[in-house]
Symmetry: none
Amino acid sequence: MAHRVQEQLVLVVELLILLAICPKAIFGKLGCHSRPSDVPPPDGNGYCLSWRLAVEANNMRAWRTVPPQCQRHVESYMTGGQYYQDIDLIIKQVTAYADGITMSGDGMDAWVLDIDDTCISNMLYYKGKRYGCDPFDAAGFKAWATRAECPAIPAVLGLFQKLVDGGFKVILLTGRDQETLGGATASNLLTQGFDGYERLIMRTQAYKGQSAITFKSDIRRQLVEEGYRIWGNIGDQWSDLQGQFVGNRTFKIPNPMYFVP
Amino acid sequence: MAHRVQEQLVLVVELLILLAICPKAIFGKLGCHSRPSDVPPPDGNGYCLSWRLAVEANNMRAWRTVPPQCQRHVESYMTGGQYYQDIDLIIKQVTAYADGITMSGDGMDAWVLDIDDTCISNMLYYKGKRYGCDPFDAAGFKAWATRAECPAIPAVLGLFQKLVDGGFKVILLTGRDQETLGGATASNLLTQGFDGYERLIMRTQAYKGQSAITFKSDIRRQLVEEGYRIWGNIGDQWSDLQGQFVGNRTFKIPNPMYFVP
C-alpha cells in the first residue's frame, strides 16, 4: 500500500514540476491558459473595432449609418470612458504643438475649430438615435440644437481657453445653418464656457447644399486672404480637415456616430 | 508510514487543484508567469488604445518608438488577429471603390502602392525590435531587407492581382534605397507573388535625405505629368498619403510599429 501511494506521489510531484516549468504545456492543452487582457475577443467585436478604425483613419467614406451589429460597441465606446480618454490624448498632442508655436505678435495667429462633437457634444441626442444606427434626422437634430443644451467636451473647452488666453484668434466654423440656429448656437457656446472667440462662422444661404469640404475650404481661403495664419484645425469629421487651406496641422477628434460629407 | 504519505498526497492534490483553478495565484506570486521580465506591466489597455488610434488618425506625429507600456498591446494587436482583420475591411473598401471606376482604356489608369508593411510585412523583423519599442536600426533593417524574406500581406496581394488583372497600372513606390536594396526588393516581391506591376520606383541618390512626403510627392508629380491618372494610393504611413498629387483616393493600412516622416 505504502509503495503504491509513494509511486502516486512521485507521479504527482513530476506533474507539479512540469507545471512549474511549463504551465502552458498543461493549461494550453486544456484551453484554460490566460489570454492577455488586451487581445481583442474573437467574437463580433473585432469587426466593429475594424469598422471604427477605418472610420477614424478616413478609409471609410460616405457611410450613412453605424452597422447595426456595432450599436453596442459604439455605445460602449462613447459612454464607457474610452472616447474621452482618446480625446484627452489628442488634446495633449494639440497642446504640445501649440506650446511650440512662436506667435507673430500681429494678432493674426489663428486656430479653426469645428463645433458639433468637437467643442460641444451631441452624444445625448445620438443616444436616442441608437448611437448612429438610425439614419440622419434633419428635423430631429434641428429641434435638439435649438434647445442649446449640448454640453462642452471638457478637454476641448480647456484647450479653447488656453488658446484664447495665449493670444490665438480662435475661429469657430460650423456647417450649422446661421438663419435657423445662429442664436441657439451662440447661446449654447456661451453657457458652456466658449467665450472669447474671434468669430463664429456658420453656413449662410450662399453655401446651402455645398459639401462641408467646399464650404469650409472657401471660408478658410477668405481667412487666409484676410491675413490669418491657420496654425491648427480641429474637427470630428475628415471633411473639416480636408480640401484647401486646411491649416498648418490638423487634428481629428473621434466620432463613430455619423459622417458629414 | 502509509498514513503520512497519504497526508502528503492530499496536500499535493490540493495544491494541484489550486493550480488548476487559479494558476496566477501561485505563478504570479512566484514571478514565473509568462510575461518577459523586461516588459513593463500593462497600465490599463485604455492608454494604448488611445495611442494607437491617435497614430492611425494622424494625430500623433514624428513619434520615435512605441511607448514601453504598450509593447504588449501592440504585440497582441499585430499577432492576435485584429491587425489582419482591420486590413481585410480596408481592402474591402478599396475593392468596392476600384470596382466603381470607369477605366479610360488608354492604359494610364494607375494605382500607387507602398511596399513595406503595405505589400509585404516586416512584422517578423519588428518582433525582434520589441514591436517598435526599440528605436529604428538602419543597419539591422537593411540586413533584414537584404534577406528578401518579407511575407506578402495576403489581402493586399489579392488586391494587387485584382488591380493588375483589371487593367490598372500598379506602381510600387518605396523609400527603400535602390542601390543597396534594389535586387533584394524585386526578388522579394516576385517570390511573394507581386508580379505584373508597371514600375518599381525606389529612392535614388537624388532623393537621399529627403522626407518620404517630398520624395513620393515628386515621383507622383512625374507620373501625373506622364499622363497617369492616380485613382488610388495605399500606404501604411501618412507620409505615403500626404503632400502633392496624392491620388483620387487614399487608404491607410494600420501600422503601430514605426513612423516614417
